[in-house]
């Protein structure tokens, strides 16, 4: 047995364990789906690791073991430094959960076993084979990742089985608990928070936290958040495949359901919108078993075509059971009326945009059926807080009003924001925007459309960035818009200076997709 070769093996193992942190971090962030991890891997091939492996293999082949050991020592040091650096600067770091610990444990086990076999086996060929395998799996850490994932899978299945059964037991002992399932391609998280806020006027409510919408996320919420005094559990259900929603429903057995929309999301796994539709309506099937009602957003074009009388429909159309009407926007945010029972209730909310109003309407209708009074709904809706920089209404200079939509970089969202601005009737409407970026081929068209919309809805236009704003300026020039009311500023600061000339208490300013100044030229 060669001492240098043993040293090489140990160094390769150390190197492998450290570079594994990055791989496991990505596996974890891809919810332990090897397929999703693979697609990340495809676009992030660790070329340096491959190079290191090839060099190491060559040295091994020519039996330059002392040189290989020296090379791997350097590799190990580089990998340790890299691993620490990556974890330090990652926004979403690797979380050392039980599962990650088990994955690391199995990697240590594999490496140790191979090194032991190498040193103990009498047969030269077999011994060398062990070395070859170890170099392969350790230096190419994604290989270890796949092997460990496979090895620990049966244990993980046992664990999830236990957690799922425990969650079922907790829910069974909680006989008076009402469970509400929320799903949809868009808007389910917002609707969940709105519904939770309204229901909390009357009940002790627990909802799944921010992004816990998978089966195991729901199970964890049940096991960790549900209190004996909890009366309502609002459960967001996410889906990427057929049967995902059914799996969650089989655990939580929802009494009510709410479907916010069906759209072309996650088509890479769903294959067709039809499958998306089927999956979302697994929630409706589960609710039917408990004779509860299912609320469906009638304004979602994909949905309305497939509805029947069994559903409670909400939205903006007058034929719907819960409908938002007489919508207007002003200093207090959005105002609209909805019919609860026989009573027409006027709601005011700081959330802007038609989608928000529809979400509120659905949540208010469901809360009303659960016994929350119109007065309580009014108060809860008035106290809803907008997400920061997402159509956020705030005071601005000279008593004017600002709609801060700085984080919106989505073309449809931008157009909708300009429409919201347009509906502030009787006020002077101003927009400051640098337009949209990073849209590739579509960029010119999207900005041109945004320009047309601003010309149609605004009184004063301030674009930011001479070159950037060209498509929008072109668009405005094709319209009747008064050119003396269109400005192009060099920077956001300059844009605000121009704005200050017009701002008064009857002005509303939309800041759309405000970018850092270094983007502009």
């Amino acid at each position: 047995m060669n001492f240098f070769l043993l040293a090489s093996l140990i160094l390769a193992a150390v190197s492998g364990l450290f570079s594994l942190t990055r791989q496991l971090q990505m596996l974890q962030q891809n919810s332990y789906f090897p397929s999703r991890y693979s697609s990340w891997l495809m676009s992030n091939i660790p070329t340096l690791a491959v190079a290191a492996y090839l060099i190491s293999s060559v040295l091994f082949y020519f039996e330059l073991f002392w040189l290989q050991a020296a090379f791997l020592a350097v590799t190990a040091i580089i990998n340790i430094i890299r691993a620490v650096k990556i974890q330090k600067k990652s926004i979403k770091k690797l979380v050392f959960t039980g599962r990650i610990k088990r994955l690391f444990g199995s990697a240590v086990l594999i490496y140790t076993a191979l090194i032991l076999l190498f040193s103990l086996l009498e047969n030269q060929m077999l011994s060398k084979l062990c070395a070859v395998i170890l170099f392969f799996v350790a230096l190419l850490s994604p290989v270890t990742t796949y092997i460990c994932w496979g090895l620990t899978l049966p244990i993980e299945k046992l664990f999830s089985r236990y957690f799922i059964n425990d969650a079922k037991r907790i829910l069974k002992n909680h006989s008076s608990l009402k469970v509400i399932g929320i799903t949809g391609s868009y808007g389910k998280t917002t609707t969940k928070f709105i519904l939770t806020r309204i229901l909390s006027e009357k009940y002790n409510v627990v909802c799944t936290p921010q992004s816990f919408n998978t089966t195991m996320g729901v199970v964890r919420t049940v096991r960790e958040k549900l209190q004996p005094q909890t009366q309502v559990f609002v459960c967001e259900m996410g889906a990427k495949n057929l049967g995902d929603i059914k799996e969650i429903c089989d655990i939580v057995k929802p009494d009510y359901g709410l479907i916010t929309s069906v759209g072309a999301q996650h088509l890479e796994t769903f294959k067709s919108v039809d499958n998306v539709f089927k999956t979302k309506f697994e929630l409706a099937d589960a609710v039917d078993k408990k004779q509860g009602s299912v609320f469906v957003n009638g304004d979602s074009a994909e949905l309305i075509s497939r509805l029947n009388d069994n559903y409670t429909i909400y939205g903006t159309d007058t034929t719907f059971k819960y409908k938002a009407q007489n919508i207007s926007y002003g200093r207090n945010g959005s105002e609209f009326e909805i019919l609860l029972g026989e009573q027409s209730v006027k709601l005011t909310s700081r959330l802007l945009g038609l989608h928000s109003i529809i979400n509120i309407t659905g949540a208010a209708g469901l809360a009303y059926e659960l016994g929350v009074s119109a007065e309580e709904i009014r108060y809860a809706v008035a106290s809803l807080k907008p997400t920061e920089h997402r159509l956020e209404l705030k005071p601005c200079i000279a008593g004017s009003l600002m709609i801060d939509d700085a984080y919106n970089a989505n073309p449809e969202g931008c157009i909708e924001a300009v429409r919201v601005l347009g509906s502030f009737e009787g006020m002077q409407k101003v927009i400051i925007t640098p337009g949209l970026i990073e849209l590739g081929e579509r960029e010119y068209d999207c900005n041109f459309r945004l320009g047309l919309e601003t010309a149609a809805k605004c009184d004063i236009i301030i674009f930011v960035g001479l070159n950037r704003s060209k498509p929008m300026v072109d668009a405005v020039n094709t319209t009747e818009f008064d050119k003396s009311k269109m400005f192009v500023a060099q920077s956001f600061k300059e844009a605000m200076e121009i704005y200050s000339r017009f701002a008064d208490s009857n002005t509303v300013l939309l800041i759309e997709n405000d970018l850092p100044d270094n983007y502009l030229n």
Binding site: S200, P228, Q229
Partner: protein, 396 residues
């Protein structure tokens, strides 16, 4: 899964025993099919005990024996929950700990009812039944209570307040002020005690000094107010929170003495030694009042409850000057003896349901608070480099 309700009672208070009676009654009334009950008996030394024997009133005759059967506990916060830990446990066994979901204080008097125990719950982050710190504290301090009511335009009797040192250093001046502003007959009260302890009615000047000295032995601050001679005492209970509350029927306690003494309130009908607290006191329910007067008092009771920002169940004691037919608010009990359940039974709410409502209100307040942001999740200090010696980092 049942909600675990910890009932706190006893405490370092002159009304320690009254609290025991009220708490044992309450624990018997709480619905066991919905709630688990954890009794937390706080001794006069402020130590906390729990045990199954605490449910039976007879056990309290021999306190040292009782405590031997119980185990000493303390409370901590772990992973977002409040945990009650047993301090003494077997040599090898792990310390027993129980999760508490809500606290139900049934305590009377200073050092507990006055915001002290509420502060303890707030500090733990434990939802609790009844008034919060401010309303409890103001409710206990009779002078401040009057000020708050005056500020809200609600009727109270005028009073003179002074401190012990002020009186001792210049009795003459204080006496003159009292005579000039209030006149005889008058009532001398320590500002911060409930249950009539240390209260004397004074008819002439030469009784005044004794009355004040007695009151001073209970409190540092004294309140003197006019004694209404043609008087009826009417009590009314209020249930709810500052957003919505309802008043019970009114009661009229019978007075054996000129004013209701501590013995009347809690030891009345106690020949057999079997005290049943406020519920057994001689009283007429509902009070013999005109519909109009009764409504006036009940409305007033709700207004006072809201002015104070109270929560849970309280009892407000009123005085009617029968000569002028004027109603005055006299005092508030933020945790009334026997939780005023006898008034609610007469109003049509059984004691069990009353306890249910009280626990619900505790969770409601908790929810309202959670809807307001209290902490900022990011650690502001994480981005600051502290100016240590030699470094040039920004200093705070």
């Amino acid at each position: 899964m049942k909600t675990n309700v910890a009932v706190f009672y006893g405490c370092r208070s002159v009304e320690h025993e009254v609290s025991i009676i009220s708490a044992v009654q309450a624990m018997a009334a709480i619905d066991r099919s919905k709630y688990d009950i954890t009794p937390v008996y706080v001794t006069k030394d402020g130590e906390m005990y729990t045990g199954d024997c605490l449910f039976t009133i007879e056990e309290y005759r021999n306190l040292p024996e009782l405590l031997k059967k119980c185990s000493k506990v303390n409370f901590t916060r772990e992973n977002g929950s409040v945990i009650m830990k047993h301090e003494n446990s077997g040599l090898f066994s792990k310390k027993k700990s129980v999760k508490i979901d809500v606290a139900f204080p049934v305590v009377h008097g200073t050092n507990c009812e006055d915001g002290t125990i509420q502060g303890f719950f707030e500090y733990l982050g434990l939802p609790y039944v009844g008034c919060d710190i401010i309303s409890s504290a103001v409710g206990m301090e009779k002078a401040m209570f009057k000020d708050v009511l005056k500020g809200a335009g609600l009727p109270v009797l005028d009073c003179v307040c002074f401190r012990a040192r002020e009186y001792v250093s210049d009795k003459q001046a204080v006496t003159e002020k009292i005579i000039q502003k209030i006149g005889f007959p008058l009532i001398v009260k320590p500002v911060n005690l409930g249950s009539s302890v240390g209260i004397t009615k004074v008819k002439t000047e030469n009784e005044l000094d004794d009355a004040i000295m007695l009151a001073l032995s209970f409190a540092d601050k004294i309140l003197v107010e006019h004694a209404v001679t043609a008087i009826r005492e009417i009590n009314c209970s209020v249930l709810g929170d500052a957003d919505s509350c309802i008043a019970s029927v009114c009661e009229e306690p019978f007075m054996n003495d000129d004013i209701l003494s501590y013995e009347d309130k809690y030891l009345g009908n106690s020949k057999g030694g079997q005290s049943k607290g406020m519920a057994s006191l001689g009283r007429k329910i509902p009070a013999d009042l005109t519909e109009e007067k009764s409504e006036e008092i009940r409305k007033l009771a709700c207004d006072i409850f809201k002015a104070l920002g109270a929560c849970g169940v309280v009892r407000i004691d009123f005085i009617i000057d029968t000569e002028t037919d004027t109603v005055y608010a006299n005092e508030i009990n933020t945790i009334p003896g026997s939780l005023a359940f006898y008034l609610w039974e007469a109003t049509g709410t059984p004691y069990r349901e009353l306890c249910d409502r009280l626990i619900e209100l505790a969770f409601r307040r908790q929810r309202n608070r959670e809807n307001i942001t209290y902490t900022i999740d990011t650690n502001i200090l994480s981005g600051v480099s502290f100016g240590t010696k030699g470094s040039k980092g920004a200093k705070l």
